[in-house]
């Protein structure tokens, strides 16, 4: 599809409707069944009692957080894939999420538990990892898929070891909070987190969108992009910082939710093409809907027990990853 004001607007409108449907479905489904009548009353503000609390205070904050996290992770995946020219690049696979989790765990360990300071340290961990991955991968010349993925796997293994070490040495009280990062869970969602993440997502996403045309050229190659007028190093630096910020805040709020940034941009590309002016807003919106649905599944499949949403995305994403690896070089990429 050609990117025009009209096509981008239409796609956004269509996907916004999908986001809304996912939100309604997520509100409706859960351990406790809500009748359509109750739901209607709730929409009109006439519902009270336990069902109202469940909808307003438990399901809604969780869905909103899922939507924002899904949007952020998908945007980050799209940016990494564009800059690194690699369809398998994704915050979790590259180890950037792991770096952020390490930073967040460190924040817990030294006892700064405020949302902001935790996000800040997670951001630090993410930035550090991005540049570590780039340094390692660039040393080998071009950024080849195998190098990139292997580097990410190794970095993840290292961070998992660090987190395991922390778990082994820390007192039990903090244990839950730390285990939380490893699996990626939205159960602890509250509206305060949404208030932090909403402006970060909007500003970060908007800033990334401003670089959509740059990303179109960067995905051709650094030399081509520079020849056509992109200040390659500066643009990459800005984008990496924005993406690290998004990953850092996201991970500090929801832990390690993998593969969203892999699956969502890819599915969008298959349907809408590769132009980042379409891809970025579509991936953000589709990612929001996607993670809301995934979290709804996590809440309901083994109810009343619950799965961490990271388990659901990994169960979907890992086979997807293998599939992509198998058909690498096909016409979609």
């Amino acid at each position: 599809m050609r990117a025009t004001v009209r096509s981008v607007g239409l796609v956004c409108l269509g996907l916004a409707i999908l986001v809304l449907l996912a939100l309604l479905l997520g509100l409706w489904l859960g351990t406790v069944s809500i009748t359509p009548g109750q739901f209607w009353d709730w929409l009109g503000g006439r519902l009270s009692g336990a069902p109202a609390v469940i909808l307003s205070d438990l399901r809604l904050p969780r869905l909103l957080l899922a939507a924002l996290v899904g949007a952020c992770l998908s945007l980050c995946g799209a940016v990494f894939q564009g800059i690194l020219r690699n369809p398998l690049a994704e915050p979790f696979i590259l180890g950037v999420s792991g770096g952020a989790a390490c930073g967040a765990v460190l924040a817990l360990l030294i006892g700064v538990a405020s949302l902001w300071s935790q996000s800040l340290l997670a951001f630090g961990g993410a930035v550090g990892t991005v540049f570590l991955v780039l340094a390692v991968a660039r040393r080998r010349g071009s950024l080849e898929t195998s190098t990139l993925v292997l580097t990410g796997v190794m970095i993840n293994a290292f961070f998992t070891a660090v987190i395991m070490f922390v778990i082994a040495t820390t007192t039990d009280q903090k244990l839950h909070a730390i285990l939380f990062w490893l699996y990626g869970d939205l159960a602890a969602a509250n509206l305060r987190q949404t208030y932090l993440l909403l402006p970060v997502t909007l500003i970060g996403g908007g800033a990334i969108f401003c670089f959509a045309r740059h990303l179109n050229l960067l995905s051709a190659g650094d030399q081509a992009a520079a020849a056509l007028g992109v200040a390659v190093e500066r643009v990459k630096l800005i984008l990496f910082l924005i993406v690290s910020l998004l990953v850092g805040v996201t991970v500090s709020l929801s832990g390690l939710i993998g593969f969203v940034g892999l699956m969502v941009p890819h599915l969008v590309r298959i349907t809408l093409g590769h132009d980042h002016r379409l891809l970025l807003p579509a991936a953000g919106l589709f990612g929001a809907a996607f993670l809301m649905l995934a979290d709804t599944a996590a809440r309901t499949v083994i109810s009343p027990a619950a799965l961490p949403v990271g388990v659901v995305t990994a169960a979907l994403g890992a086979p997807f990853f293998v599939l992509l690896l198998a058909k690498r070089g096909s016409r979609w990429w």
């Binding site: 336990a50 609390v53 839950h176 009343p304």
Partner: protein
């Protein structure tokens, strides 16, 4: 807004009071709670032991004692309680455990206007007082006092039997593969000491230390106790493994036994029995039926 709804809808008990829970939080609890939920298996046991089984409206996944508790609606596992389910059961008092339940669940329930009383079990000797207080808070003060005095009596009896005994080097095995024992700061560690044992893993700094076999061989435990839920063949295999373990179970004078993990892991009404079982395993001579426990 939603908070106001909760307050409106929550059963309006005649009166309520503000108490301090074991974490020092201020909790407003109704004088006579009518809809109770314990967020760990041990707290469910406490509620039933207090005679409040018919006022208990929900329990966590593995809350299996007493047998009637199995019929209660489930509210998820204690490490990831399903808040939606809890809210839908409209409890007027929820009991939680700081070591078992995640902090966010407690905070969130409290933010929804639900009374959450948090217990912090650490020292078995303080458990009777804790049970008494729970009885008071849940509206069964007499039952609470009785539960506490029963447990105190069990503690006193164990202490009487073990009087003047020399602590024996003991390894309490929580898991064999990997080998996990109990460290200081763990309730089981205190229980082991009360039962006349000397915890060979006391020098470790963690609560659930992973040990290697070299360490065990060097520590020369005289008693090895397996804390387990297994019965039958699995238990026999486990016991045989430890009895035949070179340098540990096959040493002269080393005894290998087992204790039901539910009795010693759950800070509930059965802990006194758990202590007694441990003491009997470590110092069987003091529990000999014929000689009346005299050496």
């Amino acid at each position: 807004m939603a908070l106001a709804w909760v307050l409106l809808w929550a059963p309006l008990t005649a009166s309520a009071r503000v108490v301090k829970d074991e974490m020092g939080r201020q909790v407003q609890v109704p004088d006579a709670p009518r809809r109770l939920i314990g967020l760990t298996p041990s707290l469910t046991e406490v509620l039933f032991a207090l005679g409040l089984g018919d006022r208990t409206v929900g329990a966590t996944t593995w809350a299996d004692y007493p047998a009637t508790a199995r019929r209660l609606p489930r509210v998820g596992a204690y490490i990831s309680p399903n808040l939606e389910k809890i809210v839908s059961l409209a409890p007027d008092l929820v009991l939680a455990n700081r070591e078992g339940n995640p902090p966010w669940a407690v905070n969130k329930l409290a933010a929804l206007g639900i009374a959450v009383y948090v217990t912090v079990p650490a020292d078995p000797l303080k458990l009777p007082a804790g049970l008494e207080r729970l009885g008071d808070i849940c509206g069964a003060p007499a039952a609470g006092r009785q539960l506490a005095s029963q447990m105190r009596a069990q503690f006193v009896e164990v202490a009487r039997r073990l009087k003047g005994v020399k602590p024996r080097a003991t390894l309490l095995v929580i898991g064999s593969k990997p080998l996990v024992a109990v460290g200081p700061g763990n309730m089981n560690h205190r229980l082991l000491e009360l039962a006349g044992g000397r915890n060979v893993a006391a020098s470790t700094s963690q609560r659930w230390p992973r040990l290697n076999l070299e360490f065990i061989i060097a520590a020369k435990p005289q008693v090895i106790i397996i804390s387990t839920m297994d019965r039958g063949q699995d238990l026999e295999r486990e016991l045989a493994y430890w009895r035949g373990l070179p340098g540990v179970g096959d040493q002269p004078g080393v005894r290998v036994g087992w204790v039901s993990s539910d009795l010693i892991d759950r800070p509930g009404p059965r802990l006194g029995q758990g202590l007694k079982d441990l003491a009997r395993l470590i110092h069987p001579e003091r529990f000999a039926p014929a000689s009346g426990g005299r050496p």
